[in-house]
């Protein structure tokens, strides 16, 4: 199975990339963003918008007041429309799943365009690869990859308005200034709103190169702006696919087999006689022999589907369908992924968590692939004064987005219209084209606000399923998964294990480090991350075992396990070395900076150290409050550096988290309050998964299928307080959806140790909490 790489280029070039973009950004070639300048007339599917008027009627002014709509709109580029009255519509290109890109990405456009945020309407763009770059939400890359194209699009439109005014007033463009949507020519005293110049500007050639703002000139970027959909959310307006409805729409629901099985026979006689039921049938999701891409999932090759009039009727009819399942044979697939074609094998059989544990324990002693080796680890371990070895494990996790999997599709003879909660539309459109037998251009995907994503919605199986069902029943269809279907469909966070070994010399210096990580069906080892580069003798190894339980990206894939393991281990290692856990890490980072081992180290030791220093200061690390167990952890992933401190006290065996202090380096912070919201969410979600998150299996069947069994963090387990502090610098912005999540697992484990006197190696921790008598 395949995951998205965390950064667009190779990891080792990241730092150059950041510096380069800083240097370039004062002037930018508009060619980098050329596709966004296609004129509106080139919109092949422009007319399609009309069929979705029901939702298009919901305009989203960014301020509190409703805006007067202009008589006429002028397109300056794909992202920007200006009305003759000066009202501005900004298209938000990326799908929104709660990370607030629908507010923060248009803020970047608006700042370079130099308009009043209160006069901005934000609209969600449809999936439109001919007009927008990379409409993908995931990997914490929205802001990172949008930064340059959005600034360029904003600055270019501004320059076109300046050029229009220069032409109309017959003055040099260089003498014209702008502020909050108004053009000024100081010497002649002339001024005009953008709306007055928009029609001429839209006709002018696109400048080859444009000036960008200096960072100190930003007026919107770096200020807190509220969610543009806030009012609609609190008033319950339809925003999600599950809320969508159209004339003649039918409801479809799946019946899913256990993992490792498929349909043998279906008795639908009782269900067909039930009220509202239109049809019951079995569908094949992917065509035979289809070469999958990284976001095609094949949890089940076929599914039984019930189609009817209303959700409740179909839910009931589903229960009346009797399906007999049969074992699948071993399956092998070719998957096109980053780094080329991969063979994925799914073994025959019904898997259980107890067996997974036993397989992993055995495999951990077997062969592994060497991922990185520095120095002579074997010799160093032999000469060590002290050796520490610890093994960490974590279970499968389900995403459990609050909006269950669903999708609207209307497929006719020659075209397909979808309204979908999907993080990665571009990958699934290819699959849809292959499955429906029509060209990609005839498939129109509208991007709904998603009721959560967390990686699950990078995978578009629900789009294919809805489309195939609609094609078969020849009607618009909304496919709806029940919570039970959603939790048991299977794009889970894999189950992992990792064994860490470290060698200390007689002075407590780290002389060798060895990580050997495995999992089903992938390992989580990042061989070039810290502490690689800080230790002379280093060995990273990985192994994996095949499975027919399907897995996928889950908030900070792999990091969400390995950070918890590694940072718990470093805590215990610091203790063994007799050092403060922050000092211990800082010493290693100093070594990695001054005299790095190897060339492929995937982090900047200075930025890593800066978050540790900031969290030490802000948490008042040296003077912890009395009666709390305090744990620290730090991690770098998805291009952002994070350090976190957790203060915990025990009520019996119940951990109460009093405070969390986080220090974050994500470069420029575009929307600070929204960034804090995202960070709080990552931290609290991480605490919940560390303490409670777990999905187990018995004979191919998930043992939990709804929230009465799957424990989610709730109000009373939420920390009393969470503080997020950002490192102030001028690096290009990086993402926040994922990076605060992984280290909290270790900060919780380390705080638990200090609060209970016991180390925790196996997630979820709440199952194992015991307080040592000495601590009571």
């Amino acid at each position: 199975m395949c995951h998205l790489p965390e950064n667009p280029g190779s990891g080792t070039h990241r730092r150059q990339f950041n510096h380069l973009t800083l240097f370039l950004m004062t002037r930018a070639k508009t060619t980098i963003n050329r596709r966004s300048f296609l004129k509106a007339t080139a919109m092949a599917g422009g007319g399609l918008m009309l069929s979705f008027n029901w939702l298009a009627a919901c305009k989203a002014p960014s301020g509190d007041e409703m805006l007067d709509m202009p008589d006429e709109w002028f397109d300056l580029n794909s992202y920007i429309k200006i009305g003759n009255n000066g009202v501005v519509t900004l298209m938000s290109p990326n799908p929104e799943f709660g990370s607030n890109v629908k507010t923060s990405m248009p803020m970047i456009l608006a700042d370079e365009l130099d308009v009043d945020w209160k006069k901005v309407i934000v609209e969600q763009a449809d999936f439109y690869p001919e007009r927008f770059d990379r409409q993908f939400t995931g990997g914490s890359m929205g802001i990172l990859l949008g930064w340059k194209p959005l600034r360029t699009a904003g600055a270019t439109a501004r320059q076109m308005l300046v050029n229009a005014a220069a032409q109309k007033w017959n003055v040099p463009a260089s003498e014209i200034t702008t502020e909050a949507g108004v053009l000024y020519h100081k010497t002649s005293g002339k001024s005009a709103g953008y709306g007055e110049m928009a029609s001429l500007a839209a006709e002018l050639p696109v400048p080859e190169e444009v000036a960008m703002k200096q960072l100190s000139d930003f007026k919107i970027i770096g200020t807190s702006r509220k969610n543009v959909d806030g009012k609609k959310i609190v008033t319950g307006q339809p925003l999600f696919t599950l809320d969508y409805k159209t004339e003649g729409m039918l409801i479809a629901m799946p019946i899913l087999p256990p993992f490792g099985m498929t349909v043998k026979s279906v008795d639908d006689s009782a269900a067909r006689a039930m009220p509202g039921v239109k049809d019951v049938f079995t569908i094949k999701v992917l065509p035979d022999g289809y070469e999958q891409n990284a976001f095609d999932t094949i949890s089940f090759p076929e599914m039984v589907v019930v189609v009817g009039n209303t959700t409740w009727e179909v839910m009931n009819a589903k229960k009346a369908v009797k399906v007999e399942w049969q074992l699948l044979d071993e399956r092998a697939f070719d998957v096109q992924s980053w780094g080329g074609k991969q063979k994925v094998v799914m073994p025959k059989g019904l898997e259980s968590t107890s067996a997974h544990r036993a397989w992993m324990a055995e495999a951990a002693r077997g062969k592994a692939q060497v991922l990185r080796r520095d120095g002579n680890p074997e010799a160093a371990f032999k000469s060590a004064a002290k050796v520490l070895e610890r093994t960490y494990t974590a279970p499968h996790l389900a995403h459990n987005t609050m909006e269950p999997v669903n999708c609207f599709a209307h497929v006719t003879e020659d075209k397909a219209e979808l309204y979908a909660p999907i993080q990665a539309p571009e990958f699934i459109r290819r699959t849809l084209a292959a499955r429906l037998g029509m060209p990609q251009e005839n498939i129109h995907i509208r991007l709904a606000r998603m009721g959560g994503g967390f990686g699950q919605r990078a995978y578009g199986h629900h789009l294919v399923e809805a489309a195939v069902i609609s094609q078969k029943v020849k009607a618009p269809v909304k496919l709806v998964y029940t919570r039970e279907d959603d939790m048991t469909y299977g794009i889970y966070r894999p189950t992992y294990t990792a064994t860490y070994r470290a060698a200390l010399d007689k002075d407590g210096n780290l002389i060798a480090f060895h990580v050997r990580g495995g999992g089903i069906p992938e390992h989580a080892v990042h061989a070039n991350r810290f502490p690689a580069g800080a230790v002379d003798n280093y060995l990273a190894e990985g192994w994996s075992l095949p499975s027919n339980i399907t897995i996928g990206a889950f908030r900070a894939p792999r990091s969400n396990f390995i950070a918890g393991a590694e940072q718990s281990f470093l805590d215990e290692l610091a203790e063994l070395a007799g050092k403060d856990p922050i000092d211990f890490r800082l010493e290693l980072l100093e070594r990695a900076k001054k005299n790095p081992v190897g060339k492929d180290n995937d982090y900047d030791p200075d930025r890593y150290a800066s978050v540790l220093k900031l969290v030490r200061e802000k948490s008042n690390w040296d003077q912890p409050p009395s009666g709390v167990g305090r744990g620290v952890a730090a991690y770098f992933c998805h291009n952002t550096y994070v350090a976190e401190v957790v203060d915990m006290r025990m009520e019996g065996t119940n951990p109460v988290i009093e405070n969390v202090v986080a220090a974050v380096d994500c470069g420029i912070v575009v929307n600070p309050d929204a960034a804090r919201n995202m960070g709080e969410g990552g931290i609290i979600d991480g605490i919940g998964n560390a303490l409670f998150g777990e999905l187990t299996f018995k004979d191919g069947v998930p043992e939990k299928n709804n929230f009465h069994q799957y424990r989610m963090i709730r109000q009373k387990e939420t920390p009393r307080n969470v503080e997020i502090h950002f490192v102030q610098n001028e690096h290009d912005p990086t993402g926040l959806g994922e990076p605060l999540f992984p280290p909290i697992f270790a900060a919780v484990a380390n705080a638990l140790y200090r609060a209970t006197g016991k180390r925790y190696y196996e997630q979820p921790f709440a199952k194992h909490i015991a307080v040592s008598p000495a601590m009571m």
Binding site: G230, G236, T310, R714
Partner: protein, 153 residues
């Protein structure tokens, strides 16, 4: 199938449906009031919370036949212009991330403040504990309920 008369958001509504249908699906599929959300179907997540005679109620587990002439209020009917103190506090604290669970959170909070206008922190946590927010905006939810309480007393 039966003809059922309901009082929803101050209006009389008549639907033809199986009397066992949970109120949630009557609201969403029959009355096009989709602000009330489906999350679990077993009264475990709170996304479907509405008021029945002013009391926070999980609409996914309430058969429509049991409502009779009780007043049903959904998020769409909580206030005329989205200006209920709880809605205003939610905007002030910019609570939402994905936003899916928030209508249920707001309805739970509004019912709490109606019966207990000056709740303690523990009262707020007790009342809100049944509502899951997968994005984990719990701190802001707590703060917004506190703000709404302060604005109404």
């Amino acid at each position: 199938m039966a003809t059922i008369t309901l009082n929803v958001n101050g209006k009389k509504r008549v639907v033809e449906a199986d009397p066992q249908t949970p109120l949630l699906w009557i609201l969403r599929d029959h009355l096009d009031l989709v602000g009330t959300k489906y999350g679990c179907g077993i009264a475990q997540c709170g996304a479907c919370t509405v008021h029945v005679d002013g009391v926070a109620t999980r609409s996914c587990s309430l058969p429509v036949s049991q409502i009779g002439d009780k007043e049903v209020t959904t998020i769409e009917g909580l206030s005329q212009n989205g200006d209920h103190p709880v809605q205003k506090a939610w905007l002030e604290h910019d609570v939402a991330q994905c936003g899916y669970c928030q209508a249920g959170q707001i309805m739970t909070a509004a019912a709490l403040l109606k019966r207990n206008p000056n709740p303690t922190d523990a009262d707020i946590e007790d009342a809100m504990h049944g509502n899951i927010c997968r994005c984990a905006t719990y701190l802001r939810i707590r703060a917004a309920v506190r703000t709404a309480a302060n604005s109404t007393i």
